[in-house]
Symmetry: C2
Subunit: 280 residues, 2 copies
């Protein structure tokens, strides 16, 4: 299989490595808007050749869109405009509703499979690509009833070969759950970093005391705005909904602390503890 | 050296293991309020003998207070009431201001060294004790001018043997920085867990999608209320101050998302990114 990956950053680059490591493709073509990133990707072995987008789509059996989510809908249309009936296009973005709407009436809609692998790190760009990504993580396939059966099957086989459990959702449902479980975590982490940078004027103290739990909650705050501004804005209504609830939960904790209400605080923390029945 | 540890949970138990692993003591005596935990601690080899608190203090060269912080001031007084001039008492708690005030006029104040090792996990109780804890993490010594020189030196030597860099703060300063860097992270994480548990009614989705960053930000939400309610209430004013700023930062992000203000959002995320110059 010849694979064309548009966007050779954290996600696209790590996919390239995974496909090569497992001998799942004969050649990886890549596209990168930025020239420096393009040569970096080549140097890191993320792609065998850098090609213009249109050429990549035409030549490859599988086109993978792994750019920031604001670029995906247009690239999806451009790719579908060029695919033949034996070719497949997928995306790997974190939001799906707008994308699936934009491509819904395209004559070649069946050749598209919308996917979201639940893997990532706080780093970005070609240098962030790592070996061994994806394995063991869930991948969400969205609106598969709109995809041709053979296209879905090929993609299912591919993700199974990457050892990824597959789940199915419609696009709307996906964006809702992604807001609840992934997008809010990033907002929390950005806000926490800014809080500490605002309040704690001495970097040295942050560094020395970070062992007390700060590192894990703030890790995602290193994530790039290029990736995350589009995600937060494309999933605006779900994100705002869960963000309002999050602020509300913080207010409840604040009020309990103000009142010295150890009973209420205990109850809230014990409730939070129950997350361990789900996340081990 | 004979060491007596009051509280054989995560911190006290891990200290016992570290002292034994490095041959830094000949015998560990322990005290545990709860009988079941006491026999668990013995079974896990965290202590050689369980003794009553008063007996432990009298017999040991070094008494370590590793209980929840609300119990530490009284235990500190009770220990200091019994120590002779060749014995030392330390605590390992996350708040220091109240403790240091309570012991400030005690005749044996010089035998006390207030310490806060910046290490922990989200687990608690004797079973949470692990080998290899503390090494490489900073330990804060507070108000050392109030401690006898020989006592401070002995404790410095002990922490150096555990490979812990030592920093010095007064108690007030410690509580401020601990609120900014450690305590707020726990609040954020508790609130995030409750947000997701509130909004996401299907556990299965949380589990399947958690790869998207949720796990790291919510890890601390497993921390026990027995440990954390006392910390948050004993450090109330600092905690409230930083919590108000955190809510404010979340409101700023919320407003930028509401306004589709990608420029402002980018700026806020880029600012948050700068945390990586401190936390790698």
């Amino acid at each position: 299989m010849k694979v064309f990956i548009a966007g050779l950053g954290l996600i696209g680059g790590s996919l390239a490595l995974a496909l090569k490591d497992r001998d799942l493709c004969c050649e990886v073509l890549g596209a990168e808007a930025d020239e420096e990133r393009a040569s970096e990707a080549l140097r890191l072995g993320l792609a065998d050749r850098i090609v213009p987008f249109e050429e990549g789509v035409e030549e490859a059996d599988l086109t993978v869109l792994a750019t920031p989510v604001d670029q995906i809908p247009i690239l999806a249309i451009k790719a579908l405009n060029r695919v033949k009936s034996n070719q497949i296009v997928i995306d790997m973005g974190s939001t799906k509703e707008e994308l699936c709407e934009v491509i819904s009436c395209h004559a070649a809609r069946g050749r598209f499979v919308a996917t979201h692998p639940m893997w990532g790190t706080e780093y970005s760009g070609p240098k962030a690509a790592v070996h061994g990504a994806f394995a063991g993580r869930t991948v969400v396939l969205c609106d598969t009833t709109k995809s041709d059966e053979d296209a879905t099957q090929t993609i299912e086989k591919l993700f199974r070969a990457l050892e990824m459990p597959i789940i199915y959702m419609d696009a709307e449902e996906h964006d809702l759950h992604a807001a609840y479980v992934s997008h809010i975590s990033h907002i929390t982490s950005f806000a926490l970093a800014n809080t500490v940078l605002e309040k704690e004027r001495e970097d040295r103290h942050i560094f020395d005391l970070a062992g007390g739990g700060f590192e894990s909650t703030v890790r995602l705050a290193k994530s790039s705005s290029k990736t995350w501004v589009p995600i937060l804005l494309r999933n605006k209504y779900n994100v705002l909904d869960v963000l309002r609830e999050h602020i509300h939960q913080l207010q409840l904790l604040r009020k309990a602390i103000e009142r010295d209400d150890s009973e209420e605080l205990t109850e809230m923390i014990d409730r939070a503890n129950s997350i361990q029945r789900i996340i081990h």
